[in-house]
C-alpha cells in the first residue's frame, strides 16, 4: 500500500501523513509541486526529507490507483473494497488533487461530509480515515435514518495537549455533523491560552465557518451518562467497527489524548457508571501518536453508524400536454397467400 500526497504545502501535514501511513504499515511519498522540501526550515520539524514520486513511477507501481477526494462521481469510502494492493492519492490542502494525478485514478472515493459549511478534513486526518477503511476489512455503507440527530452520541475531547491536533479534531467533528462538543482542556490549549496558540488552533479548526458549539468542561468534573465509550488505540474492548455508537445523545463518546493519558489507569467512572472501550484496528502498535488521526478515525466510524437523512425526492413535474395527429389504426384484414408469379406480374 502506498499513500501519495499530491502538492502538499505544509511540512507539518506531510509529516503527519507519513505517520498516518506508518500506523497502517503503508509507505508515504509525495509529488512535490509546491516546494515541500524547501519549506523544511521550520525548527519544530525533525530533520528529514519527504520521498518524492513522479507520475510515471506512480503509474508503474500499482495497477489500482484510488483518488481520495470529493471529485464528481466519487463513491463513499464506507464499504469500498480496495483489494490488497493499491495506491491512495490525496491532494493539496486547498486545491485538492491535481488533474494530472486525478486522471490516473482507477477509482474515486470520498468521505461523506454532513456539514454544510465544513466540507473537507485536514489532509493528514483524511489520509488516516482513508487507510483505516481501505486497509481493514470492508464495513457496511453509511446508514440512512430519518432523524440521525436522535442517534448521535455526545462527544468529549479529553486532555488534548496540542492546539493544532485539537483544532483539526474539532474541524473533523463539525464536518461529520456534530453540532456541539465538550472539551476538557486540562493543558489550556483552547480556552484561556496565549493569543498565538489561540489563533493557530482556531485556524486549524476553521473556526471562521465552523459553527460547532464548544462547551468547556472543568477537569475532574463528574458526569452522569448512562454509558460512556472510550476510544483508544490500545487493544482494549471491542473493535471500533463492532461497537454500537448510534445509541443517541444519552451516551457519551470520550476521545482521550493518549500521549498524555494512560487509558488503563485513568479513572473513567466519573463519566458514567458503565464504561466501555473501543479500539482502532491497527496492524502496528508502535507509531508516532497524533490525536487528530485517532480522533478523526473514530469520528468517521461514529458518523457512518449514525448515518444521514435520506436524499429528498423531488416530485416529478407533470408531463406537458402532447397532442398527436396520425392516421389512426387501419382496419386489419386477413392476409392471403400470393404466388411468386402473381407478385412478379403485379
Amino acid at each position: 500500500m502506498l499513500l501519495v500526497g499530491d502538492g502538499i504545502e505544509n511540512p507539518a501535514n506531510a509529516l503527519t501523513m507519513t505517520h498516518a501511513a506508518a500506523m497502517f504499515g503503508a509507505t508515504c511519498r509525495f509529488r512535490d509541486t509546491k516546494g515541500l522540501n524547501l519549506n523544511l526550515e521550520n525548527p519544530t520539524l525533525p530533520e528529514q526529507s519527504f520521498h518524492p514520486i513522479t507520475r510515471p513511477e506512480l503509474q508503474a507501481l500499482h495497477s489500482r490507483i484510488i483518488a481520495f477526494d470529493n471529485l464528481p462521481g466519487a463513491r463513499d469510502v464506507y464499504g469500498f473494497r480496495a483489494g490488497p494492493d493499491f495506491t491512495v492519492l490525496l491532494g493539496n490542502e486547498r486545491r485538492g488533487l491535481s488533474h494530472a494525478l486525478a486522471s490516473l485514478a482507477t477509482d474515486r472515493v470520498q468521505i461523506p461530509m454532513l456539514s454544510r459549511r465544513i466540507n473537507c478534513l485536514n489532509v493528514a486526518a483524511a489520509s488516516a480515515v482513508a487507510l483505516n477503511y481501505l486497509c481493514n476489512p470492508p464495513v457496511g455503507p453509511m446508514a440512512t435514518r430519518k432523524d440521525p440527530r436522535s442517534r448521535r452520541p455526545e462527544l468529549l475531547l479529553l486532555g488534548a495537549c496540542d492546539h493544532f491536533e485539537l483544532g483539526s479534531t474539532i474541524r473533523s467533528a463539525a464536518a461529520f455533523g456534530w453540532e456541539r462538543a465538550f472539551i476538557e482542556d486540562s493543558h489550556r490549549v483552547w480556552f484561556n491560552c496565549d493569543r498565538g496558540i489561540r489563533a493557530e488552533g482556531r485556524a486549524a479548526a476553521r473556526r471562521a465557518r465552523n459553527e460547532i458549539l464548544l462547551v468547556p468542561c472543568p477537569p475532574a468534573s463528574t458526569y452522569n451518562y448512562p454509558q460512556a465509550i472510550v476510544v483508544t488505540r490500545q487493544e482494549i474492548g471491542m473493535p471500533l467497527q463492532r461497537t454500537n455508537f448510534a445509541a443517541g445523545p444519552n451516551h457519551l463518546v470520550v476521545i482521550p489524548d493518549e500521549s498524555q493519558i494512560d487509558v488503563t489507569t485513568y479513572d473513567w467512572s466519573r463519566f458514567s457508571p458503565s464504561v466501555k472501550f473501543a479500539h482502532l484496528s491497527l496492524p502496528k502498535t508502535d507509531f508516532p501518536y497524533h490525536y487528530r488521526l485517532v480522533a478523526t478515525i473514530a469520528l468517521a466510524e461514529i458518523s457512518r453508524q449514525v448515518g444521514r437523512p435520506p436524499a429528498a425526492k423531488r416530485p416529478a413535474a407533470p408531463r406537458p400536454p402532447i397532442y398527436d395527429y396520425d392516421l389512426g389504426r387501419i382496419a386489419n384484414v386477413a392476409g392471403e397467400l400470393v404466388a411468386l408469379e402473381d407478385l412478379v406480374g403485379y
Partner: protein, 242 residues
C-alpha cells in the same frame, strides 16, 4: 373595463405581445397606441413579423431534420413562414419552434404520424413516405374523407386488402400545410391563450375539436400558398412500399 388589457381580443393581444414582449401591462394608452400602430402599419413602417432578438435571429426556430431514404418533407421552411404570415400574429405568438422531423423508427407504417403539438409552443411535422402510399388494410372512413377532400386519389383494393393513396401534383404539400399544420396551430392557440402553458387545459376530445374548428375557420379564409421555386427535392430513392 373596456380599456382593460385583460379583455383584449386574442389577435390584438398577440400583436401587442409579439411587438413588445417585455412591456409592463400598464404601459401606455391602448387606444392611442393602436391608432399609431395602425397608421404605421398602413405606412409600411411596422410589420407584423416578430422583432429579431439580440442575435438578429427570429425567435421562432424552424428545425429541419433530413428525412430518411424513401421519405420526404412535403413542406419547407418558406411554406411555413408564409402560412404563418397569412394567419397573422395570433398563430405566431408564443410559438417557439417548428420541427420537420423524422418519424420514430419503431412507428408502424399502418399508423402514419403526421404531426404533434408539444406544449408549450413546439410543433413537430413528421416526414412522409414518397407517394403513392400503399397501406395495408382499409382506412377508416373519416381518414378517407379527409384525404379525398385534400385532393388525394384513394383506391381501395379489396382483393389485396390494401389501400392505395396517390397525391397528385401539389396536394400532399397542401394537405400537410393546410390540414396538419393548421390543426397543430389550433392546439397551440388553445393551449397558449389560456396562460397555463404546461397544464392540460381541456379534455383531449375538446382540444381536438377546437383544433379542427381552427382548421375549418382558417382554411376558408386562406389564400392558396404559392409553391416556392426549387422546392421539392426528393431525399432518398424510388417509391416506398409500405
Amino acid at each position: 373595463m373596456s380599456r382593460s388589457k385583460h379583455t383584449d381580443p386574442k389577435a390584438i393581444r398577440a400583436l401587442r405581445r409579439t411587438r413588445w414582449p417585455f412591456d409592463k401591462r400598464c404601459v401606455g394608452d391602448l387606444t392611442l397606441r393602436r391608432k399609431i400602430d395602425l397608421q404605421l402599419e398602413v405606412a409600411g413602417i411596422l410589420s407584423t413579423h416578430r422583432p429579431p432578438n439580440k442575435n438578429g435571429q427570429s425567435r421562432l426556430r424552424i428545425i429541419i431534420q433530413p428525412p430518411r431514404r424513401g421519405f420526404h418533407h412535403p413542406v419547407g421552411k418558406r411554406d411555413l413562414l408564409e402560412l404563418l404570415d397569412s394567419l397573422g400574429p395570433i398563430a405566431r405568438y408564443g410559438l417557439r419552434s417548428i420541427e420537420l422531423a423524422r418519424a420514430s423508427v419503431d412507428a408502424s407504417i399502418s399508423a402514419l404520424m403526421f404531426g404533434r403539438y408539444c406544449a408549450p409552443g413546439r410543433i413537430i411535422l413528421y416526414e412522409q413516405p414518397l407517394p403513392p402510399w400503399r397501406l395495408h388494410g382499409r382506412l377508416p372512413s373519416a381518414s378517407l374523407r379527409r384525404f379525398e377532400h385534400a385532393g388525394a386519389i384513394v383506391k381501395t383494393l379489396p382483393a389485396l386488402g390494401a389501400t392505395l393513396i396517390d397525391w397528385p401534383d401539389d396536394t400532399l404539400r397542401q394537405f400537410v400545410l393546410e390540414d396538419i399544420f393548421l390543426h397543430e396551430l389550433g392546439h397551440h392557440v388553445l393551449q397558449h391563450y389560456k396562460g397555463k402553458r404546461l397544464v392540460r387545459i381541456a379534455r383531449t376530445h375538446d382540444h381536438e375539436a377546437f383544433a379542427n374548428r381552427f382548421v375549418e375557420k382558417h382554411q376558408s379564409s386562406m389564400k392558396p400558398v404559392p409553391r416556392p421555386i426549387g422546392h421539392g427535392e426528393e431525399h432518398g430513392e424510388g417509391t416506398v412500399l409500405p
